[in-house]
Amino acid sequence: MSIGALTGAGARHRVDLASVGRALAPWALPIVLLIAWEIAARAGLVNARLLPAPSAVALAGWRSLLDGTLVANVLASGQRALVGLAIGGGLGFVLGLATGLWRPAETLLDSTVQMVRNVPHLALIPLVILWFGIGETAKIFLVVLGVFFPIYINTFHGVRTVDRQLVEMAEVYGLDARARLWRIVLPGALPSILVGLRYALGLMWLTLIVAETISASSGLGYMTMNAREFFQTDVVILGILVYALLGKLADAATRAVERRALAWHPAWQPSGEESR
């Protein structure tokens, strides 16, 4: 899709144009909207204090990049997000595996987990503030709660729905319990676990935003709430855009993991590879 490819000869030229068109198509609507927004803001159709032009937002982004606040805030948020994901996701994975593989663990744990799961975790904010104050622990704790359940449930479900016939085959062919876990159960549960991970990533950002807007002295949530107090609408919008970008980035990363780890899956194989 480089310029060099575009200057190729005849038929290839047309093919390349078509593929460039396909690659650009998803961006057409956002670009049109941006242009319309810019024109509306400049023509005074919308109040620039309430909805600044995209160029003003870009400028705010540039300024905060230069003075380092944007990077510092993104790093602060990113660190909370990743620590929370590692703890909550790790716990969800291990407990999901335990309940999925071992009936007594399911009997002991699962109904409790299902009960707690039905409490919206953001409803615990007052309690979390009472317990942990407004420091880092409170925010990380909320993220842990947010990401735990989707990963727990999808790991459990993934382990439980692994093809029993494959497990029996592995037994007959002499694989011990450890080999069965690594070669049959975990890879079989992986598609479901990755669905849980994608869902957890969404909840991770959501939880963090809410936690940071309530009480923080750094991070993206803090940046936008602070900007609101000084009526810097451009910074508020910038913060929202950065959230969108980070969410998209996290999703793209999971998709890349899926593409690699699920290469065996017919859904990820190039089409036209019919059986011979």
Partner: protein
């Protein structure tokens, strides 16, 4: 296809005997086998036909060590069966290939020393030379069963148990699989027990056919036709099929 009939030097050939004496097996209240006796000679190809629920699968699960008898003795190579035995391999109705392992990894599922080279050789034996790097999902139904056969035979078992492995294949593929199995069995001489609904399949492949009905042997007949057997029914085969069908 011809390469698979050649036996490599140093290959162990031969099979183990299977013996069931006074075996009973019941699941809860229902008794599937009672006082059941069966002897299979080393290297013999036995086909077991019968209606569903006649005890065919139970017989296979007992011989493989997947299930224990409720009473009586099951012996493999003169030794009582105690759980799964690496000298006994089972081919299931479905290929049961692991979708996230390549074809070669499936064949070498137990990962013994030198499994990769052994898997490639076993794949060549079943006519899938050089396909080891592919995913199972790109294979046809017949090819999947070939891979399953390679997986069963890679460890040189003394006994091969087949639980209607060709039932889901189309007629032409089934005949191909018959030729393949017949060729490999004659080269290696392992003991084979084939469960099947298909009387023609039993007569085409086996040395001996038994009919199981309500947990008893209703017919036990030797198939004295020279190999390889023609696909088009020879009158003697047709006669035999009629006799077996009458007993089912």
């Amino acid at each position: 296809m011809s390469a698979l009939l050649e036996t490599r030097e140093g290959e162990v050939t031969g099979g183990l005997s299977v013996s069931l004496s006074g075996v009973s097996k019941s699941f809860g209240e229902t008794s599937v086998l009672r006082g059941f006796d069966l002897k299979v000679r080393p290297g013999e190809f036995l086909a077991v036909v019968g209606r569903s629920g006649g005890g065919k699968s139970t017989l296979l699960r007992l011989a493989s060590g997947l299930d224990r008898p409720s009473g009586g003795r099951v012996e493999i190579g003169g030794r009582p069966v105690a759980g799964l035995n690496p000298a006994v391999r089972l081919l299931f109705q479905e290929a049961r290939l692991v979708p996230w392992q390549s074809v070669a990894q499936n064949v070498g599922i137990a990962r013994g020393p030198g499994w990769r080279a052994a898997a490639e050789r076993a794949l060549a034996d079943v006519g899938l030379d050089g396909r080891g790097g592919e995913w199972p999902s790109v294979l046809s139904g017949g090819q999947k069963q070939r891979v399953a056969l390679a997986r069963a035979l890679v460890s040189r078992p003394g006994i091969l148990l087949l639980d209607e492995p060709f039932g889901a294949l189309d007629a032409l593929t089934r005949i191909e699989m018959h030729r393949l199995l017949d060729g490999i069995w004659r080269a290696r001489g392992f003991t084979t027990i084939l469960i099947t609904h298909d009387v023609a399949e039993a007569v085409a492949l086996a040395d001996r056919v038994i009919v199981l009905r309500e947990g008893r042997i209703a017919l036990d007949v030797e198939v004295e036709l020279e190999r390889p057997r023609a696909e088009l029914a020879d009158p003697r085969a047709a006669e035999l099929q009629k006799r077996i069908l009458a007993a089912v």
